[in-house]
């Protein structure tokens, strides 16, 4: 999001107390306030501080573990968080409108199975991809219509799809694993599981999408409208923005990102069961919030998605390498989630008023 800034809390227009208005003072205060530089604007964002935390953890880990900085470990860490980062990009859009999408984990299961079954039946990877993203977008469309037009609560609607999508995945897979992916099996497994220039393909996908999303949030009308809806849906409606259609599109986008993550993940695993993505929705939401999204809506950072996802994976990896009992993992992920929200609160308190 374009973060805008104001450096002082001093208002230009004096309030009631100041009877004869001191225009010279006002002019001074106007001229003394300069446009913020790009760096200043960046320092004010949540993703920046989370990035600092990542670097701090990274420095500590370099001393704690010899393995941490190895190419192999970095490769694994980055690949592991890429899937969550991709979904967090879509989740960011949903949360920006003040909604939530709990169905992304189940959607991975459903769309992974759909892609697997289509390719197992002998169709090429193109059709597998289209079926994967198409089925995701369809569920997103249903979610969106129920939320935007029927006005049901996003939490309830997507909780319903969470259950239904997983169930349909079980039904159509007949509870069996799919590991034959037809004529394009090699290509499919390469896309999800291999690397280009030493960087895992899912990480490339995440990097490209992050830039695309950044451009979308900053420069497109659609992005602007999503942010406006999150700020004040009623105002957006009165301004003539097709609020319902934009909200539907946001849920379709989030679902499609889950489909894309599933497509890559199944390729990496080389097999898919209907349990793919089980409970991932919580990690995705956590990553999105750590990346600076505000559940009240109106705030979105494209770079928050990969950064939030990276922090979570880093915590997991660090605990593992530091030899701390794996049972502590969830504790620290939860701790950072709360700390991230706290950080945002504190920063906002300093800025408003």
């Amino acid at each position: 999001m374009s973060s805008t800034g104001q450096t002082t809390s001093q208002q230009i227009s004096p309030t009631d107390a100041a009877d004869p208005v001191d225009h010279a003072a006002i002019d001074d205060s106007i001229t003394s306030r300069q446009e913020m530089t790009g760096l200043q604007a960046m320092i004010r964002t949540q993703p920046f501080w989370v990035m600092m935390a990542i670097i701090a953890i990274g420095i500590v880990m370099m001393f704690v573990s010899d393995v941490f900085m190895t190419e192999r470990n970095m490769y694994n860490v980055s690949r592991n968080f890429a899937f969550f980062g991709i979904m967090a990009l879509g989740m960011g859009a949903v949360i920006c409108t003040g909604g939530i999408d709990l169905s992304v984990g189940s959607l991975m299961g459903l769309t992974g199975i759909v892609a697997g079954l289509v390719m197992q039946a002998g169709y090429g990877i193109e059709l597998g991809f289209i079926a994967c993203i198409g089925s995701a977008a369809l569920v997103g469309l249903i979610n969106g219509v129920l939320i935007a037009y029927v006005r049901l609560a996003p939490f309830v609607v997507t909780l319903g799809s969470l259950a239904m999508a997983r169930s349909i995945a079980m039904v159509i897979s007949n509870n069996k694993m799919v590991y034959e992916f037809g004529p394009d099996q090699d290509l499919f497994e390469w896309i999800g599981g291999q690397s280009v220039l030493g960087i895992p393909n899912p990480v490339w996908v995440l990097a490209i999408l992050t830039i695309v999303f950044w451009l979308v949030w900053r420069y497109t009308i659609w992005g602007r409208w999503v942010i406006a809806i999150g700020g004040n849906a009623k105002a957006a409606k009165l301004a003539g923005i097709p609020v319902e259609r934009v909200v539907v599109s946001v849920y379709m986008l989030s679902a499609s990102m889950a489909g894309l993550a599933a497509f890559l993940m199944v390729g990496w695993f080389g097999s898919v069961t209907n349990a793919l993505g089980l409970t991932y929705e919580l990690n995705v939401i956590a990553a999105t919030v750590i990346g600076g999204a505000n559940l009240m809506g109106g705030v979105v950072y494209a770079f928050g998605a990969p950064i939030g996802a990276a922090l979570m994976e880093l915590i997991r990896n660090s605990l593992l390498l530091a030899g701390i009992d794996a049972l502590w993992q969830q504790f620290f992920v939860g701790l950072f989630l709360v700390l991230a929200v706290l950080l945002e609160q504190v920063r906002n308190r300093g800025r408003v008023d």
């Binding site: 227009s13 497109t220 003539g240």
Partner: protein, 247 residues
């Protein structure tokens, strides 16, 4: 010829008659205060002019032509802009972002159409300048005073160069100093030939900027006086019903 003319406008919600045969005329460059107690029908009349819903019966004419509004956008197409009481601004956007909300300026970059921030900041700056407001286009609305927020909401109505601006309680929730700013904004709109309907509970505001005052009581217009021919005492009497009629 009046800019806006309402004739015999009624509105019923089931058994409740919110408006009963209201006539109202307003000319270009004129400011009319619309007053009345809660439930007198002010909001209903506002919403009819704004296009939120059509009247049950009666006619709306703009520059002599019959018009029918079904949605707020219809009213906007006919040159009516509304400044809502809660201002309907997005706190998380800049002043310029709010001014251009829903009508963003675009420029072409290759095959893409992208937001033209520079043009929007510039145009918004010009609009604030015309309003003699110190509001700065790049500031977040979240950080603004009530007066500045009003300036944003008013600047927004000027984008389309409307014929009539409808203002709902623009001075209700702001400080004394800011009230002066807002009233100055209204005078500026009159000077530029815009008609203004000011819905307000505040007698001094109406007497300061309006040319006429129309009083509603229980769905009927009980008075339509030129400001110089009436007094705050008389208007108060008309609002409360202590004085029956003064047409």
């Amino acid at each position: 010829m009046s800019l806006l003319e309402l004739s015999r406008v009624t509105k019923s919600f089931g058994a409740i008659h919110a408006l009963q045969g209201v006539d109202l005329r307003i000319a270009a460059g004129e400011a009319v205060g619309l007053m009345g107690d809660n439930g007198a029908g002010k909001s209903t009349l506002m919403k009819i002019i704004a296009g939120n819903f059509p009247p049950t019966s009666g006619a709306i004419r703009i520059e002599g032509k019959d018009v029918h509004f079904h949605r707020p956008i219809d009213a906007r197409h006919h040159g009516i802009e509304i400044v809502y009481q809660d201002l309907a601004l997005c706190d998380n956007l800049t002043a310029a972002g709010n001014v251009f909300l829903g009508r963003e300026l675009k420029k072409s970059v290759g095959p893409f159409k992208i937001l033209d921030y520079k043009a929007m900041y510039q145009r918004a700056g010009e609009l604030f300048g015309e309003l003699k407001s110190e509001t700065r286009p790049r500031d977040l609305v979240k950080q603004m005073s009530g007066g500045q927020r009003q300036a944003v909401a008013i600047a927004r109505t000027r984008l389309s160069d409307p014929k009539l601006v409808l203002m709902d309680e623009p001075t209700a929730a702001i400080s004394v100093r800011q009230v002066k700013e807002v009233l100055a904004l209204i005078k500026r709109m009159k000077d530029t030939g815009h008609a203004v309907i000011l819905v307000s509970h505040r007698m001094p505001d109406v007497f300061d900027v309006c040319d006429r005052v129309a009083v509603l009581r229980r769905g009927t217009k009980v008075a339509d006086r030129r400001i110089k021919d009436t007094s705050p005492e008389e208007v108060t009497g008309l609002i409360t019903g202590a004085i029956e009629h003064a047409l």
